[in-house]
Amino acid sequence: MMSGSRSAGLRQARVRTAWLFLAPSLLVLTGVALWPLGRTFLFSFTDALLTEPDFYSYVGFDNYRALFEDPLWWQSVRNTLYFTVISVSIETVLGLTIALLLNSHIAGRGVMRAIILIPWSIPVVVSARMWQWMLHDQFGIVNHVLKLAGLIETGVAWTANSALVMPVIIAVDVWITTPFMVLLILAGLSMLPRGIYEAASIDGVPAWKQFTSLTLPLLAPSIAVAVLFRLLDALRMFDLSYVLSSNSDDTKTVSIYAREVLVNFQDMGVGSAASTAVFLMIALVTAIYVTVFRLNRRLMGV
């Protein structure tokens, strides 16, 4: 009995200590994440304006109804999903390829590893501006080079042509964030046990099968984490579209839509509803992704 109650007391003390240590970060999280999120959620049910956020009345689901009836919102959703799926797919394949190259014993790979990180280390707005200049229809170097090569006669309006602007934004995003993929996958590659490849080569397992049966499954957790990071980033993409084609509906993402309603139209109610919808969308995609991956892992037995 005695020892039982004493160990219960010890347990209680440990739980108290744990809470004590957790308190500061919980407090900060509440202040910078939970509180604004709650406020946004609250405002999404009001008719508040950005100029006078203190005067509002509750309007129920009117804002969500307005949001879901706006075709531009749905186009933003489509744009965002399209951008996310295409850019993350390309970055994953490209990142994996480059990581495999850098992981093999080629000359100068140390230098290569450093160089490849440069695009990722530049702030996105700076990269976007840089690309904007390079893609300029009259003075841009891209058109200049293409003209010199005789591939085009007049400059292409890369960011003004509605058919081209999304591919251009995806291309720039690939240029910026592939290094991030490479870095994460490279870290995963360096964790793979060396010996199994020697065993496989003695057992007569050809290189392609070593890749599909050993490297890929063992690398899957690393790739999955990298893809998840990129998914979250891509779903709330704002800066690239905003700088390269700020007014185009063809590249309007949900983040840009929310900002537009909130800042340009001063409509805090619908803006908050849009923000909440963005949050729910990202949460939903993440939840599906994590669930599918867990399930998959259990099936594969990794």
Partner: protein
């Protein structure tokens, strides 16, 4: 045909030569152990036979065919690694069957062969598990199983027991001996443990600094070490070495060790020698040559005891004595040996042998 022939085989890493003109032949069905201290090149030599390291110079033949340029998969070998190198994401069953699966054998035959090997190694109950869920000894069995399942004629073992604790090492040693007895496959086995070499090998190859120091059966190496290095490497506890002086005396030789001397057959050698006596050949209070000593420490091992003694010149000796000698530290004793049991090594560390007779 699975004999191995190495002719003037060389391995260089840049300017560094790690294997220098090694010549060796391994007969079909033979169990050969490469032994030596770390860095002697034994693993490198094995990996060259396997095809995991390129051969810089010389020729490797397996089954009478030149293999220098043949990829590992086509050398007809199976290999067990020190790290086991099991596929971590596959079940034991798939680990065993993976090579067969790659070779496109029918599913039924794969299952059959995997089951047979699993029964042979007593790992049937582990087939559904993954490597991380196995103990070290079980992983080792699976690694051996993966080598067996392909039924190759040549087995290569790279320090397979180094990561196991003492009990398991003994168990797996017996297991590997059984496998060789039953399958009679040519086996090359690398270890730094002379005990494994002594107990498993038909022939031992002692390597030092990329050279073969001596090749022979375990008893040949134990009884007639060709040099001081082999003498000190084979046998545990290791051989004691004392400095002595050999002189020609009439038709024979005379050996002086400290204050003791004894006549020997003619060695045809004069000068300083190393006298090597194994701990089990030292006799407390007996022998042809006897030296006064004092007891430093007695380590009882149960049936026998190791007596650490110090000679008058401060040199230490280890004596393996039967039973439990009743000796206290600092007690004065006499340590001796029969000259027929002693090994003499000249200035170049090579073993000296008696002339004529």
């Amino acid at each position: 045909m699975s004999g191995i022939a190495l002719t003037n085989v060389v391995k260089r890493f840049g300017a560094l030569t790690v294997i220098d003109k090694v010549n060796l032949s391994v007969a079909e069905g033979e169990f050969v152990v490469f032994v030596g201290p770390s860095g002697c090149g034994k693993s490198t030599l094995l990996r060259m036979i396997a095809g995991l390291e390129e051969i810089s110079d010389g020729e490797l033949q397996i089954g009478g065919e030149r293999m220098n340029e043949t990829p590992p998969a086509r050398r007809g070998i199976a290999m067990v690694f020190q790290s086991y190198a099991l596929y971590p994401h596959m079940s034991v069953e798939r680990n065993l069957g993976f090579a067969l699966e790659t070779a496109r054998l029918a599913a039924g035959e794969i299952t059959e062969r995997v089951a047979k090997v699993a029964r042979f190694l007593k790992i049937e109950h582990l087939l559904a598990r993954r490597p991380a869920q196995l103990s070290g000894g079980q992983q080792q069995r699976v690694a051996i199983g993966r080598a067996l399942v392909r039924s190759q004629k040549l087995f290569l073992f790279d320090e397979p027991l180094s990561n196991l604790d003492a009990d398991l090492r003994m168990e797996m040693r017996v297991e590997i001996a059984r496998i060789h007895r039953e399958l009679k496959a040519t086996t090359v086995y690398v270890t730094h443990d002379q005990l494994e070499a002594m107990t498993l090998a038909d022939r031992i190859v002692v390597l030092k600094d990329g050279h073969i120091s001596q090749v022979g059966t375990p008893m040949e190496l134990y009884e007639h070490p060709a040099n001081k290095f082999v003498a000190s490497f084979i046998g545990a506890p290791r051989m004691n070495f004392l400095t002595g002086k050999l002189a020609i005396d009439g038709s024979g030789s005379r050996l002086d060790v400290l204050d003791a001397r004894h006549g020997l057959e003619n060695f045809g050698y004069e000068g300083e020698v190393s006298v090597g006596i194994r701990p089990e050949d030292l006799i407390l209070g007996g022998g042809d040559i006897r030296l006064p000593a004092s007891v430093q420490l007695v380590e009882p091992l149960g049936g026998e005891a190791l007596v650490h003694a110090r000679l008058g010149n401060g040199q230490s000796l280890v004596v393996k004595a039967q039973g439990k000698p009743d000796l206290k530290p600092n007690a004065d004793i006499t340590v001796g040996w029969l000259t027929s049991k002693a090994h003499l090594f000249g200035a170049d560390d090579r073993a000296l042998s008696a002339k004529g007779a």
